[in-house]
């Protein structure tokens, strides 16, 4: 027997969450650690389960939209859009151009807001406390635009099946143009302050590495998957709505480590700014709502619609039996699927890495638990 075997040493079980400050919501993971190394990890989800899919079956289509606000509560517009698109596709509704542009602009702004939040909280996970303030400062500009447009800061409930609730305020374009410049400046600041910081690089480079093949196999989508070098962005691979009218790049990582995931998101903010600028130029006056009935009754059938949300590929599978409520509605939440690779990435990582890895996946528990 070796000395190690003779010594009665145990792995330490550490419970991280649901009240731990670094779990980004009510997520709980149980870590088995050997010194500072992680031996095993067991995620526990479900603290925020509200049965959204089942509730959807009992609500009219127009009432469902607000439930989608509560899934990924950092990117509400993007969620609303997907469920609207699903119903529209089933009813073959042609959404007016102006409504499409308003939706695109709001969703891309929401993507920026979401990635800004990621930038702040990930830096906080890494131990830098200032970036979160700068991120929130810029996010506030976007939130004010949202508030002026939809009347709400968080649960907008602004998209309707066939268009949007009401036209945007008169100074919509000026507001956004005024907000974009400081946002661009903050993205540059993020590069100087965090992205290329030596300590941050030491902390995030080659941490939580996942190669493209495994990433796809484990259900990674969105920026996480692109950080592993898989070139798939729904906006470009299968353009929905009006995304084929914009010129934007899809930044790709290659190592699939935490730094790549961070870098891809920072670059995506730049691309979103580009899309918003183009959309503002192209937007014309016009109707904002397709001529639809007050109560939507999609014909019998089923449809699957997916879109590129800030967190990944958000899908809605909608089955209608011709009534005013869905027969079945299945949500494919990107955060939930991205979480599947947690165990894979945390193998042999350090305790401090566990926080970084979880932060780099950028989960929103409202979406994971539904």
């Amino acid at each position: 027997m070796t000395v190690e075997q003779q010594l009665d040493s145990l792995e330490l079980m550490v419970n991280v969450g649901p009240q731990h400050p670094a779990t980004h919501g009510v997520f709980r993971m149980v870590l088995w650690i050997d010194g500072e190394r992680i031996v095993d990890v067991e995620p526990h989800i479900g603290y925020l389960h509200r049965g959204t899919e089942k509730i959807c079956e009992n609500e009219q289509y127009s009432q469902i939209i607000t439930l989608f606000d509560r899934l990924d509560y950092i990117a509400n517009f993007n969620n609303e859009w997907v469920v609207c698109m699903a119903a529209e596709k089933l009813m073959s509704t042609e959404v007016p151009d102006r409504a499409q542009y308003i939706r695109t602009i709001l969703c891309e702004l929401n993507r920026i807001a979401s990635h800004l939040l990621f930038y702040g909280t990930f830096a906080l996970d890494a131990g830098a406390m200032s970036p979160v303030m700068y991120a929130f400062r810029e996010r506030e500009r976007i939130q004010q635009i949202f508030e002026a447009t939809s009347g709400a800061r968080l649960m907008h409930n602004y998209f309707r099946i066939g268009g949007v609730k009401e036209d945007v305020p008169a100074d919509f374009v000026q507001r956004i143009t005024a907000a974009l410049d400081p946002i661009k400046a903050t993205i540059e600041e993020a590069d100087r302050l965090v992205t290329f910081n030596e300590v941050f690089l030491a902390r995030s480079r080659d941490v939580g590495t996942i190669d493209g093949k495994t990433a796809v196999a484990l259900g990674f989508t969105g920026p996480n998957m692109r950080a592993s070098g898989v070139d798939f962005d729904v906006r470009r691979a299968a353009p929905y709505a009006i995304y084929d009218r914009f010129d934007f790049n899809v930044p790709l990582g290659d190592r699939g480590d935490c730094w790549d995931r961070f870098w891809v998101r920072i670059r995506e903010m730049e691309e979103s700014v580009k899309i918003v600028e183009q959309a503002l130029k192209q937007m014309q006056e016009g109707p904002i709502m397709a001529p639809t009935r007050r109560i939507s009754r999609p014909p019998k059938g089923e449809v699957y619609v997916h879109a590129e949300n800030p967190r990944g590929d958000f899908g809605v599978y909608l089955v209608s039996n011709g009534g005013d409520r869905p027969y079945r509605l299945k949500i494919r939440p990107p955060s939930f699927c991205n979480l599947m690779s947690l165990k894979h990435m945390m193998r042999d990582a350090y305790v401090a890495d566990a926080i970084m890895i979880l932060g780099s996946i950028d989960i929103v528990l409202g979406e994971v638990d539904r």
């Binding site: 550490v14 419970n15 830098a128 910081n197 030596e198 030491a202 902390r203 790709l252 730094w259 670059r267």
Partner: protein
């Protein structure tokens, strides 16, 4: 005999009181300065400019319930704050603020300070173990590893400083810097001492044993009320000690060109220099993320300790051959610049190159038309 004891007792009371006042001022400066770095206002409500906020904080801590976890090792839990607190104040016995002002100016002052500053590790480990909390144990063990590792470069740099005036007496060391501060002679020593000092007091980027996002306060997680306040006090006094040591050992202490050697001016200069160093430490805190424990250790053993030896050897060579002073400056500066450049080149520069390559690849993407992937 009695008169002498009375003098010493008075000096000690003055010392403890003024140190506590210094801590209060540091808390205010930290909150204000950090807030301004982060585009916040900081405390504004209690007193003018929120000046009384630290007092309010201290009062709150004192009236708060002092919880002791049921499963904790009560003796260790009670003793730990004291074991951390006492050495942090004890080192101040020999730290001079002017040529004639110290509670007891020891001939081996620096030795005394380094010896006592190591003691607080024991308290942190005791707190970690006594709390009967897994996070606290992790934090306590981390603190032991971290503080012991960074003690070595500090001692090495202190030895190199002692070699210059051939004395361990802090007054002699400062008096020797009347013409030229040691920061100009040993920039490498200053860098190593400051970094190791920041690590020694567990501040960002080395706040690994208290890391809020990982071990949530580490050894202090179970402490509340007065016990926690004592830890807090010790932590700030330690930080101030490091700041003052940098001021005394490298920035010339109370000496300043063309200034008369007056006691109150000396106080002012030392305080000014120490607070400037403290602001630099706060600047680190507002800028840097946190290192990981293994990186911290390898940084200590592979970078800091070799560098402190290089500092020692260059100083020795300079003294042995009796070269002019600028040779030591040159050698020290060259090593400092080389190290910073190597770190920059290996980390930031290579990452920037990678990022540029990737962006070029993303821009070169050509859309494949005509196939309907929908």
């Amino acid at each position: 005999m009695v008169a002498e004891l009375c003098v010493i007792a008075t000096k000690l009371v003055v010392l403890v009181t003024s140190l506590t006042l210094v801590v209060l001022s540091m808390v205010w400066i930290e909150r204000k300065f950090l807030a301004r770095l982060q585009e916040r206002l900081g405390p504004t409500v209690v007193g003018p400019f929120g000046l009384l906020q630290p007092v309010a904080d201290a009062l709150k801590l004192l009236v708060k319930e002092d919880l002791i976890p049921a499963l904790s090792d009560k003796l260790l839990f009670w003793l730990a704050p004291i074991v951390v607190f006492v050495p942090s104040y004890l080192v101040w016995v020999t730290i001079p603020f002017a040529r004639t002002t110290a509670v007891r100016n020891l001939e081996t002052g620096l030795f005394y300070i380094t010896a006592f500053s190591v003691l607080s590790i024991v308290g942190l480990v005791m707190a970690g173990w006594g709390s009967a909390n897994k996070y606290a144990i992790l934090g306590g063990l981390r603190s032991a590893a971290q503080l012991i590792s960074y003690e070595i470069p500090i001692i090495m740099v202190v030895i190199a400083v002692v070699m210059l005036p051939q004395s361990m007496n802090l007054v002699t060391i400062v008096q020797d810097q009347r013409t030229i501060p040691y920061a100009a002679l040993q920039p490498l020593g200053l860098m190593v001492f400051l970094i190791a000092g920041v690590a020694e007091v567990g501040r960002t980027p080395f706040d690994i044993y208290v890391a809020e996002s990982e071990v949530m306060g580490g050894p202090f997680i179970e402490y509340s009320g007065a016990h926690w306040a004592v830890f807090f006090l010790a932590e700030y006094v330690n930080t101030f000690t490091i700041a003052v040591m940098v001021a005394l050992l490298f920035l010339g202490g109370w000496s300043f060109p063309f200034m008369p050697d007056v006691a109150w001016l000396s106080f002012l200069w030392v305080a000014l220099k120490a607070y400037l160093v403290f602001l630099v430490i706060l600047w680190f805190r507002g800028t840097f993320p946190r290192l990981r424990i293994d990186q911290l250790m390898s940084f200590a053993w592979k970078v800091m300790i070799p560098l402190s030896f290089v500092n020692l050897v260059t100083t020795g060579v300079y003294l042995f051959y009796g070269w002019p002073k600028w040779t030591l400056t040159l050698m020290s500066l060259a090593v400092t610049v080389a190290v910073i450049y190597i770190i920059y080149r290996r980390m930031t520069w290579s990452a920037r190159v990678t990022a540029e390559e990737r962006l070029a690849r993303a821009r070169a993407y050509k859309r494949v038309e005509a196939t309907d992937v929908r």
